[in-house]
């Protein structure tokens, strides 16, 4: 069948149009091909432009977020906190103003920019007193003329301040017109300031501590740096039209954030203990420092650890500088009499606290020890030549406890020393902080250190050196009916709220004495706070405290206990547990004096500081709530 003539003509016209379009496209394709060959083979771009336009790939280390340190109730003690460093590109818009065809207008714009820079400098000075407006303006001016693109303005400001700075003249025009460069970095912040600083430790950021710095940083931050730090990540970034994005063709290592550390500290108790100690020592010029530790009886969890010493950078004010509780070893004084009493009771030399020994005018037989003149007062006041173990303990008689040690252990002093070791007072143990010192206990076989008087003086707390933590652990064992638990600071390690590594309590010695003897010891210790050397300081305490005072003297370079002018280095200690009937907490406080003529006894500052803490804990701790039963209908 033939198609109509009209249709054939129309088809030819369409074909022609299509043909022309086809030829045009063909020519265009040929041109593109030629241009492509030209660009690929002949044309050489300007190296500067090529460098700027070629997408560069840069390696970036992804810093992990450092883990938090939290207290036993989940309150933040140390956290990572972002701060801003603000810089300025002083050259922004300068070239544009200079290129303006209307030179007057360009100059006016430049003057206006500088006026805003002046207002910016003044605004910054108002927000941050360390900024000098004139000096900063001069720096910006000089930077603009010399083409400085990275002028530091302020460092380490928080977000609120950064937002205020962002609203200042010039900076409110953005980066391209105002030249504001904002960089973020994470720093370590401590919401409770310097509270428990020596225990928590201190780092500036999460850059990773070198080995030597970890050793020199005795806090938890240093000891657990590897866990808190996490693992660095790595990624490669490429420049695209939509900014710098991760290059998925390159390798990528995800950063592993640090784990959280849940400590045993109770920050409220820490605050109260800190204030209690500050209140006692802040006004005293001849105090070197003091410490106070609160520990849970059953578990050994340390709920508060205060270490105050003078900070020369703060005008000698007391701050957390030195960890006395674990890093200061000294003769414990009368708090060691408890060791002697426990030893003679445990070894069966005495059955009751009411048994007596002769007063002997305060002279320990068969030794060259000095006479204890205080016992003469006892003889005179009580018209007796005998004194009971309890009374000797109550008045903290050096004679009684020197005599008990000599009379019962002179034939075998090693037996007494072994007792000291069995009470955990001769060894160190693995503690959550670096720097726990090993006690010094003389060896009876070593004639260089063991003399005729060593055993007797050990009996009342000299010739040995102990840290406050060792003494605390020993008293805690008595409170815990003989079971010695290890003091600890880290409850567990957590990741996003889930426990990954549980630490918790551990036992050092399942039984250092029988329950009956522990109860007898409690009776002796209670007598000290009720009728003995701590009775005045403990007046008004809200629950019964079983404790012991102790005072010793530090030695001067020549080896004497006083200097040429008769000044002494006091080490006053109070250690005890409460409530005496059912002990829940043990606490120790030690005060260290500089050479002084004043007296700083264990029954003074340390006992008063502990009383304040006891009253607070006893009132606020849910453990001690009194209960009334609802009458049933």
């Amino acid at each position: 069948m033939r198609l109509p003539q009209q249709s054939t003509k129309s088809r030819d016209r369409i074909g022609l149009v299509l043909y022309i379009f086809y030829v045009l496209m063909l020519v265009l394709a040929a041109l593109v091909l030629v241009k492509l060959v030209y660009f690929q083979i002949i044309w050489k771009p300007d190296p500067k432009i090529a460098g700027a336009l070629t997408p560069s790939i840069v390696k970036r280390t992804i810093e992990p977020v450092r883990g938090n340190i939290i207290d036993c109730n989940g309150r933040l003690l140390a956290m990572s906190y972002p701060v801003y460093d603000i810089h300025m590109d002083c050259t922004v818009m300068k070239a544009e103003f200079g290129k303006m065809k209307n030179k007057d207008k360009g100059r006016q714009r430049e003057e206006e920019w500088m006026r805003k820079a002046r207002a910016l400098a003044e605004g910054l000075a108002e927000l941050n007193p360390s900024v000098n407006a004139d000096k900063l303006y001069t720096q910006i001016k000089e930077g603009r003329s010399s083409g400085r693109k990275y002028l530091p303005i302020v460092k380490g400001v928080d977000r609120t301040t950064m937002l205020k700075i962002k609203s200042l003249p010039l900076y409110n025009e953005g980066a391209n017109r105002g030249g504001m460069i904002v960089e973020t970095r994470n720093v370590r912040k401590y919401p409770y300031g310097r509270l428990a600083r020596r225990t928590i430790g201190f780092v500036r950021d999460n850059k990773g501590l070198p080995e030597e710095e970890i050793k020199g940083n005795p806090g938890l931050e240093g000891r657990y740096d590897a866990i808190l730090h996490g693992k660095d990540g790595r990624e490669y970034l490429k420049q695209t039209d939509r900014g710098r994005v991760r290059n998925y063709d390159s390798s990528y290592v995800r950063a592993v954030d640090g784990k959280d550390l849940r400590t045993t500290l109770n920050i409220d108790y820490q605050d109260v203990a800190d204030r209690a100690l500050h209140d006692q020592i802040d006004t005293l010029d001849d105090i070197e420092g003091a410490c106070l530790v609160l520990m849970e009886v059953k578990t050994g969890a340390i709920r508060a650890m205060v270490n105050l010493s003078r900070d020369p950078n703060r005008g000698g004010a007391f701050e957390e500088i030195t960890n006395f509780a674990i890093g200061r070893r000294c003769e414990p004084g009368s708090v060691f009499k408890t060791v002697t009493l426990l030893s003679v009771l445990s070894d069966g030399y005495y059955k009751s606290l009411d048994e007596t020994i002769p007063t002997n005018h305060g002279i320990v037989k068969n030794t060259k020890m000095r006479q204890d003149v205080h016992i003469l007062d006892w003889e005179r006041e009580h018209k007796t030549k005998e004194i009971s173990l309890l009374d000797g303990f109550k008045i903290s008689s050096n004679y009684v406890y020197g005599a008990l040690a000599v009379e019962n252990y002179a034939k075998n002093p090693r037996q007494y020393v072994e007792k000291v070791y069995s009470y955990g007072l001769g060894d160190t143990f693995d503690f959550d902080l670096e720097g726990l010192l090993t006690p010094l206990v003389p060896n009876p076989s070593d004639k260089a250190v063991w003399s005729n008087t060593t055993l007797g003086t050990m009996g009342f707390g000299y010739s040995t050196e102990e840290t406050p933590l060792h003494i605390l652990t020993f008293y805690n064992a008595i409170a815990n009916k003989g079971k010695m638990v290890k003091p600890y600071l880290v409850e567990d390690i957590e990741k996003a709220g889930n426990v990954t590594d549980r630490r918790g309590p551990s036992v050092l010695n399942a039984s250092i004495c029988s329950r009956a003897i522990a109860d007898t010891m409690t009776r002796a210790l209670l007598s000290v706070t009720e009728d003995g050397t701590a009775r005045y300081s403990m007046r008004g305490v809200k629950c019964k405290v079983a404790g012991k005072t102790g005072t010793s003297f530090g030695t001067f370079p020549g080896g004497g206990y006083s200097d040429a002018s008769g000044r002494r280095l006091y080490r006053g200690t109070f250690v005890g547990y409460f409530p005496a009937e059912d002990p829940r907490y043990t606490a120790i406080s030690v005060v260290y004096s500089n050479p002084t003529r004043k007296s700083y006894q264990g029954g003074g500052i340390p006992a008063r500081a502990i009383k304040t803490l006891v009253n607070y804990v006893y009132t606020n701790d849910p453990e001690f709530r009194s209960k009334i039963e609802k009458k049933s209908k």
């Binding site: 309150r75 956290m79 409770y192 939509r242 900014g243 607070y616 606020n620 849910p622 709530r625 009194s626």
Partner: protein, 117 residues
């Protein structure tokens, strides 16, 4: 037996001429008898188009990720800032100080709480 035909330069020229005229007239693919492969050509074209389109989409998505990461980081900063401020204010002595500043008579309890069982 017929001898095999040998190629000459003129044959090559003929081929180029015919090819060029075929391109000009738009008959190249038809002369090559490529019509039967049209589906494959179209499919390859579509595949390449999808590849380019997906690449652009991926880059677009990565750009969005970076923007969202920046937003998340900003939110984290706000959260950390507020957490720090709240934690700082919760210090017992700080609370007491603020209460005193506000003239409040609220103080630490002087007696234990009593639990009714």
């Amino acid at each position: 037996m017929e001898q095999k035909r040998k190629w000459k330069l003129s044959d090559l020229w003929e081929l180029l001429r015919n090819g060029f005229s075929a391109i000009i007239t738009g008959n190249l693919l038809l002369r090559l008898n490529a019509g039967k492969y049209f589906n494959h050509i179209a499919y390859t074209f579509v595949l390449f188009w999808i590849l380019i389109f997906e690449s652009l989409m991926a880059e677009n998505a990565l750009g969005k990720i970076e923007k969202n990461n920046a937003k998340i980081k900003e939110m984290e900063i706000v959260y950390a800032d507020k957490t720090f401020k709240v934690a700082s204010m919760s210090r017992r002595s700080e609370v007491e100080k603020r209460l005193a500043e506000l003239g409040s008579t609220v103080k630490e309890p002087e007696q234990q709480a009593i639990t009714i069982e």
